[in-house]
C-alpha cells in the first residue's frame, strides 16, 4: 500500500498530485498489478482532502487502464508502467549537465537558465494553455 503526500505550495491540482504519485510508484516498482490503492476514506482521513478529489484521481487512473475499481472491495492496480530505462536516464542527465556547464560559461545565470528551460519545456509539451 502506498501513502500519498501533498505539496500544498506546488500549484499542481491535488488530484493530479495523486495521479502522479501513482505513476511514479508504478515506474519505480513500488506498486505492482494486484496491489490495492488506499480507499478514499483512508486518503481523506490522512490528508483532510475532499473525497471527490481522490475519486477523480482514481477515475483518471482507471481511464488510463492502470487501475480498476472492484465494487465493495477497493481499487486495484491492473497494469504497470514501463520503468524508465536507467541507462537512458544517465545519458540524458550527463548531456543536461554538459549543457548547463556550457550555458554557465557563456555567462548565463541560474534565472536565465531556468527561464530557457521553462520555455523549452512548455514548447515541447505545449503546456500553459489550459
Amino acid at each position: 500500500m502506498i501513502e500519498f503526500q501533498l505539496d500544498a505550495g506546488s500549484g499542481v491540482a491535488t488530484y493530479l498530485q495523486l495521479v502522479q504519485q501513482v505513476h511514479q510508484a508504478l515506474q519505480l516498482g513500488l506498486l505492482k498489478p494486484g496491489d490495492q490503492l488506499p480507499t478514499a476514506q483512508q486518503v481523506v482521513a490522512r490528508l483532510a482532502i475532499n473525497p471527490n478529489t481522490v475519486l477523480k484521481a482514481y477515475r483518471d487512473l482507471e481511464r488510463e487502464g492502470l487501475v480498476r475499481a472492484r465494487p465493495g472491495q477497493g481499487t486495484f492496480v491492473v497494469r504497470t508502467l514501463p520503468r524508465t530505462d536507467p541507462v537512458a536516464q544517465a545519458r540524458f542527465l550527463a548531456s543536461m549537465a554538459e549543457w548547463l556547464r556550457s550555458a554557465r560559461s557563456a555567462g548565463l545565470g541560474p534565472d536565465d537558465i531556468e527561464a530557457i528551460y521553462r520555455t523549452a519545456f512548455r514548447d515541447c509539451f505545449a503546456e500553459g494553455v489550459a
Binding site: 500544498a8 500549484g11 481523506v44 483532510a48 475532499n50 500553459g128 489550459a130
Partner: protein, 298 residues
C-alpha cells in the same frame, strides 16, 4: 431536483441595510462548498437562511427541495454548526448526546458514541471545560449523528489551532466519504478550503461575485504577464478580472472560455487564493466607485 441549495434572487434586510442581496445560486448535491468573503459580506446570513434560522426579505431559497425550517422533516435533513461551535457549558458530553437523541427523530446514537470514543472525549466531562478543538468536534458529532443530507458550518475552524483544524477537517471529510453528505462551510482560510472544497462561492458586499466548480474556475482563469498593453485590446472572450501595470509590463488575471493563444503573454495557472483575492478586490473597488460621496469628502 438535484440541488442542495437553490436560491432565486434571495435577499435579507436588517432595518435599511441589506445583509444579502440578489443572491442566485444553484449548488449541485454531493459538493463540499466553500463560502468566502470579507467580514460582513453576508456569509452567515446565507448559511442561516439555508438552515431556516432566518426568513428571506425577498426572493426564494430552497434547500434539498424544501423550504428551510418549515417542517420537522426539513429540519432533520440539515445539520447546522454555528460560529464558534456553541455548546451548553454546564452539560456533559453525554448529556449533549442524550439531548441530540431526544430532539432528532433519526438520531444515530451508535455513530455519535463511536465518534466520541475515537476522539478520546470523556462522556462525563462538561462541555465548558473542553478545548476549542474538542468543542468543535462535539458540535460536529451532534450535527453528523442526526444523519443530515447537508451540513452547514459557519467558520468552523476559525478559532482552532493548526492541529485541531487539521483534525476537524479530517473528520469532516471522513463524514463526506462515508455518508456522501453535502457540506457548505464558510472560512477565511483559503489553504484549508483548497484542500476540502470542490465548489466555491465568493460573496462580497452582500452579493455573489463568483460561484462554480473549483476545477472549472481554476481552468477558466489565467494569469498573463507580458509587455504593457491596454486590456481593452484583448479578445472578446477574455474578461479582465484584475490588472496591474508598470511602465513596461502588464499583469492580468483573466477569465476566458477558450485557450489564450497570444504568444506575447507568459501564461500561469491561478490558485484558489488568486481567484478569491482578485474577485474580492474587484468587488471592493466597484463598491468604492459606486459611492462618489466619499470621494467628495476626501
Amino acid at each position: 431536483m438535484n440541488a442542495i441549495v437553490e436560491t432565486g434572487a434571495v435577499g435579507k434586510k436588517y432595518g435599511r441595510q441589506w445583509a444579502l442581496r440578489d443572491c442566485t445560486l444553484t449548488i449541485p448535491a454531493g459538493k463540499v462548498v466553500g463560502l468566502v468573503g470579507p467580514n460582513g459580506a453576508g456569509k452567515t446570513t446565507l448559511l442561516q437562511l439555508a438552515a431556516g434560522l432566518l426568513t428571506p426579505t425577498s426572493g426564494t431559497i430552497t434547500v434539498l427541495g424544501g423550504q428551510p425550517g418549515t417542517s420537522p422533516a426539513q429540519l432533520a435533513k440539515v445539520g447546522f454548526v454555528a460560529q464558534d461551535a456553541p455548546a451548553y457549558a454546564r452539560l456533559s458530553v453525554a448529556a449533549h448526546l442524550r439531548m441530540g437523541d431526544w430532539l432528532n427523530p433519526d438520531w444515530d446514537g451508535e455513530l455519535a458514541g463511536h465518534r466520541i470514543e475515537r476522539l478520546g472525549l470523556d462522556p462525563r466531562q462538561r462541555a465548558g471545560s473542553l478545548s476549542g478543538g474538542q468543542r468543535a468536534q462535539l458540535a460536529l458529532t451532534i450535527a453528523v449523528a442526526k444523519r443530515p443530507e447537508l451540513i452547514l458550518l459557519d467558520e468552523p475552524v476559525a478559532s482552532l489551532d493548526p492541529l485541531a483544524r487539521r483534525e476537524f477537517l479530517q473528520s469532516l471529510m471522513e463524514v463526506v466519504a462515508e455518508h456522501g453528505t453535502s457540506v457548505m462551510l464558510s472560512s477565511h482560510l483559503i489553504a484549508d478550503l483548497e484542500r476540502v472544497c470542490d465548489y466555491l462561492v465568493v460573496l462580497v458586499a452582500s452579493r455573489v461575485q463568483l460561484a462554480g466548480e473549483v476545477s472549472e474556475l481554476l481552468a477558466s482563469h489565467h494569469r498573463l504577464s507580458g509587455p504593457r498593453r491596454d486590456p481593452g485590446t484583448l479578445p472578446a472572450n477574455q474578461e479582465v478580472i484584475e490588472a496591474s501595470h508598470t511602465d513596461r509590463q502588464s499583469t492580468l488575471l483573466i477569465r476566458s472560455d477558450g485557450p489564450v493563444l497570444d504568444p506575447a503573454w507568459t501564461i500561469r495557472p491561478v490558485t484558489m487564493d488568486d481567484l478569491v483575492l482578485a474577485y474580492m478586490s474587484r468587488a471592493r473597488d466597484a463598491e468604492t466607485s459606486r459611492r462618489p460621496g466619499l470621494e467628495v469628502v476626501r
